[in-house]
């Protein structure tokens, strides 16, 4: 065993040193291939041609574009597609890198090259691999390749066991299909983690108001986290057309969903929600009161001052602080209420009122 251990030490040590030296040499070699590929690709996307890559193509136009690909990469398209060389990997990486920054005709031409060089077919096959990281990477690459042919395999991957695969598939569908893919995605995924929320929320926000009907449709999901996510997104989009649906969903008896709705009301800022928020501000549940106080603060309606004043006397400090903060957002009437509380006999309400009035004075004069 000891001899085996010595053997392991020697092998690993020598291996590490050789690897380190080889890595340095490979970087230099690869750099030249990278430069060549970048140059060829730049010429390809900028070359003048009558064959538009994004329009329905005739055989002649397609042949013309294929000829360009052949000419620029100096290999036959078919032969190159079969080669599994280091150069091929580098070319793909460079093309994927390019696709991040291209739009319009140049992007369409690049997408054509992905198809012509066999990269799309290869990634579609990889998207069905047994290894999750290969599936996830393939989904990611198909997005950058704008591969319309891959919609079916990407849709299947929405139900993958691995979360990274699901996320990459969802993002790819949103990129390739557009906002129309949103509600099918939300209704297909069985659950949504915090990480998935982070990743797809930016894309959804990018759709703006167009996403609202799809998010409302997505609220029909059986999973409460997906519902909650849709509500949060509606809140962030701030579209008043969502308010009626959100009011209806207050009947859905899961606290997380109801609290998310209360917060969304505050963000959307539609006064139709005030009665229902006030109802929850009087709830026994501290979390509802907190969310209601915050929502009322964001709405900033003077009509809610009396409710917030009541919350200033609540047993829990967090609720009192939220109520005081909300009052500072309401304007003059809210400030007057706080000033009154600062002189009240209730020590708890007095302390939070003084805190907010003082900080408001200090910060207002300096910020």
């Amino acid at each position: 065993m000891t001899i085996a251990a010595v053997f392991i030490i020697v092998i690993i040590s020598i291996g590490l040193i050789i690897q380190k030296i080889r890595a340095g040499i490979n970087v230099q070699k690869s750099r030249k291939f990278f430069t060549d590929a970048q140059l060829a690709l730049t010429q390809f996307v900028l070359a003048e041609t009558d064959a538009p890559a994004n329009a329905p193509q005739s055989v002649t136009q397609k042949n013309a574009l294929e000829a360009m690909v052949r000419q620029l990469f100096r290999v036959s398209v078919e032969k190159f597609a079969q080669a599994r060389s280091h150069r091929r990997d580098i070319l793909r990486e460079v093309m994927l890198d390019f696709s991040l920054n291209l739009t319009g005709e140049t992007q369409a031409r690049l997408d054509f090259a992905f198809q012509a060089l066999g990269f799309v077919a290869e990634e579609m096959k990889a998207a069905r691999s047994k290894k999750w990281w290969i599936r996830a990477r393939a989904c990611h690459r198909l997005r950058l390749m704008h591969a319309l042919d891959a919609i079916e395999v990407l849709s299947q991957n929405l139900e993958d066991d691995n979360e990274d695969v699901r996320i990459e598939a969802a993002l790819s569908l949103l990129e390739i299909v557009g906002v129309g893919a949103l509600s099918p995605i939300l209704l297909t995924i069985k659950d949504i983690s915090g990480w998935m929320r982070v990743r797809i929320s930016n894309t959804i926000l990018g759709f703006g108001g167009e996403a609202v009907p799809h998010l409302i449709e997505g609220m029909k999901s059986n999973n409460y986290r997906v519902k909650k996510f849709c509500i949060e997104m509606l809140g962030r989009l701030g579209d008043v057309s969502a308010v009626q649906t959100l009011i209806e969903y207050m009947g859905y008896d899961v606290p997380e969903v109801q609290i998310a709705s209360l917060e969304a009301f505050g963000k959307i800022g539609d006064h139709r929600a005030i009665p229902i928020i006030i109802k929850y501000a009087k709830s026994e549940n501290e979390q509802y009161r907190l969310a209601a106080a915050r929502a009322l603060g964001n709405l900033g309606s003077p009509a809610t001052v009396s409710v917030l004043n009541e919350l200033l006397l609540h047993d829990t400090i967090e609720v009192r602080l939220a109520a005081a903060e909300a009052l500072t957002k309401i304007g003059q009437l809210g400030i007057k209420t706080l000033e009154y509380s600062a002189h009240s006999e209730n020590e708890d309400a007095k302390k939070v009122a003084i805190q907010f009035l003082h900080e408001r004075t200090v910060l207002k004069t300096t910020y």
Binding site: I9, S13, L16, G24, A136, R137, W195, Q355
Partner: protein, 478 residues
């Protein structure tokens, strides 16, 4: 006399059999943990391909973080370290600088530099602490995320508890005032909380900054120190973090998150009662207590380790200071394990009770004692003429070989994953350190840890001063 000789021979024979069994068990365990860590790092690296941390930075769905920076007599470094924290990449965060009754002018320096004013903020003492003298905020908009708390001295644990009480956000990050976090460290350490809502705490890797080029609180160039002692510690940290904590995290048996850099779910920390004041191992004790609290209350929980959010720290460069540090660490370990001895072999705590706590108890805690007794027994046996010198040398060689194997394994994990030391010369040096640490350095660390038992029994609770050279505004640490 002959009878004594027989008794000694018998005792030595029993002890040698015990030692051989113990040695095999320990090495099998280390080997298993190395393999688990290897698999965990490979999995982590695969996931990293699909992780763009800027997305967290741009998202409103990230979980806000309160950074807790306790400080005692830090007037020389407090401005740099606070500025460095305020510049970290994270969408929503606050920095809570807690002046733990410094005797120097730390508070005055902070007030002047950051234009602070005392507020009337309500202090909610959810965890009992020493009195808070004042809570300060800045009048400058660029420091709106900074809150400075002045409190009566109560030690690091007490300062952290004040920070937890005051913090507004669901995650609290504890750091040492003299550590340097990399710009994206928070983004990386926060990700497990997004991945899985069962995660209650996450530890990040701590690396040694000695030898690195540091400019304005940022590590600009990573290099190994030219001195032996910090270099030995680099290999030790690789073993501890990459082949130890990575593996423990993977099996949800992690018992330690370094006090220098950890992120915790505030709600669970509050429910557990915060950091314990009367122990020198408050960071480990809190983690064990959080595990225990969740298991005892039927809460599904996970404590993870992520190997790439880096916290740089300054390692001791003298034997005296290093000895004090190791002594304190070992006292903390002993204290924590004795506080939670009820978890030992207790199936109620699953992996923790059946694997982690027994490992830390018999291998990490008692290991130095067993090794020290081994040295004494061998020397005694040699002088009594009842030990075969050849067998002793052979055993020593075997133990060195295994020691080197695990060090090389840890360096391998670093090389396949993060390759923070780009120079071939540094790699060679690390491999060499893994070999020569077995001749002298390892024995010294055993002695420090044996002494920790004595100090623990004497009731020593002090930290011992940690003299640091410090990270200047621009310096190259030798």
């Amino acid at each position: 006399m002959e009878l004594l000789q027989h008794i000694a021979e018998f005792g030595l024979s029993v002890y040698s059999h015990f030692i051989i069994g113990y040695f095999i068990l320990v090495n099998l365990f280390y080997f298993t943990m190395l393999c688990v860590s290897f698999a965990a790092i490979v999995h982590h690296l695969r996931r990293t391909q699909f992780t763009n941390h800027t997305e967290i930075l741009q998202s409103e769905f990230s979980t806000p973080i309160s950074i807790l920076a306790p400080a005692f007599n830090e007037s020389a470094t407090c401005i740099d370290s606070t500025n460095s924290l305020l510049k970290l990449n994270y969408p929503t965060m606050e920095v809570l600088f807690i002046n733990d009754g410094s005797k120097d002018n730390t508070l005055d320096v902070m007030i002047k530099e950051f234009s602070l004013v005392k507020t009337q903020r309500v202090y909610i003492e959810k965890i009992p602490t020493q009195p808070v003298r004042g809570i300060y905020i800045s009048t400058k908009k660029e420091y709106k995320n900074l809150i400075v708390v002045d409190k009566v001295n109560g030690g690091k644990a007490d300062a952290l508890n004040v920070g937890i009480n005051i913090s507004r956000y669901p995650l609290v990050c504890s750091i040492d005032a003299d550590s340097i976090l990399e710009d994206d460290a928070l983004l990386k350490v926060a990700k497990p909380f997004l991945d899985d809502e069962r995660v209650i705490a996450v530890g990040g890797i701590v690396r040694i900054a000695n030898g690195c080029v540091i400019e304005r609180g940022r590590v600009k160039e990573i290099r190994l120190s030219k001195k032996f002692l910090p270099s030995f510690q680099v290999v030790e940290y690789f073993r501890a973090f990459l082949s130890g904590r990575m593996g423990w995290g993977a099996i949800n048996g992690l018992l330690i998150i370094s006090g220098a850099f950890g992120l915790f779910k505030r709600q669970v920390v509050l429910a557990c009662g915060g950091y314990k004041h009367d122990t020198v191992g408050e960071d480990m004790e809190l983690v064990v207590r959080m595990h225990r609290y969740c298991k005892e209350n039927g809460i599904e929980s996970k404590i993870e380790f992520v190997p790439d959010p880096v916290c740089w720290t300054e390692a001791p460069e003298t034997l005296k200071v290093l000895g004090r540090q190791r002594n304190r660490w070992h006292r903390g370990l002993i204290d924590t394990l004795l506080i939670h001895k009820g978890m030992l072999f207790n199936p109620r705590y699953e992996v923790l009770g059946l694997v982690s706590v027994p490992y830390f108890f018999f291998i990490e805690m008692l290991g130095p004692l067993i090794e020290a007794f081994g040295y004494i027994a061998v020397i005694t046996g040699f002088f009594l003429g009842i030990i075969n010198l050849e067998i002793f040398i052979l055993f020593f060689i075997v133990s060195v070989v295994y020691g080197v194997m695990f060090s090389v394994g840890a360096v391998l994990l670093e090389e396949i994953s993060f390759q923070r030391y780009p120079r071939t010369a540094d790699l060679l040096k690390l491999l060499l350190m893994g070999l020569i640490e077995n001749f002298g350095y390892r024995q010294i660390t055993v002695w420090w840890r044996v002494r920790a038992f004595w100090d623990y029994m004497r009731g020593v609770k002090t930290w011992g001063s940690m003299q640091r050279v410090g990270f200047g505004s621009s310096n190259r640490r030798a």
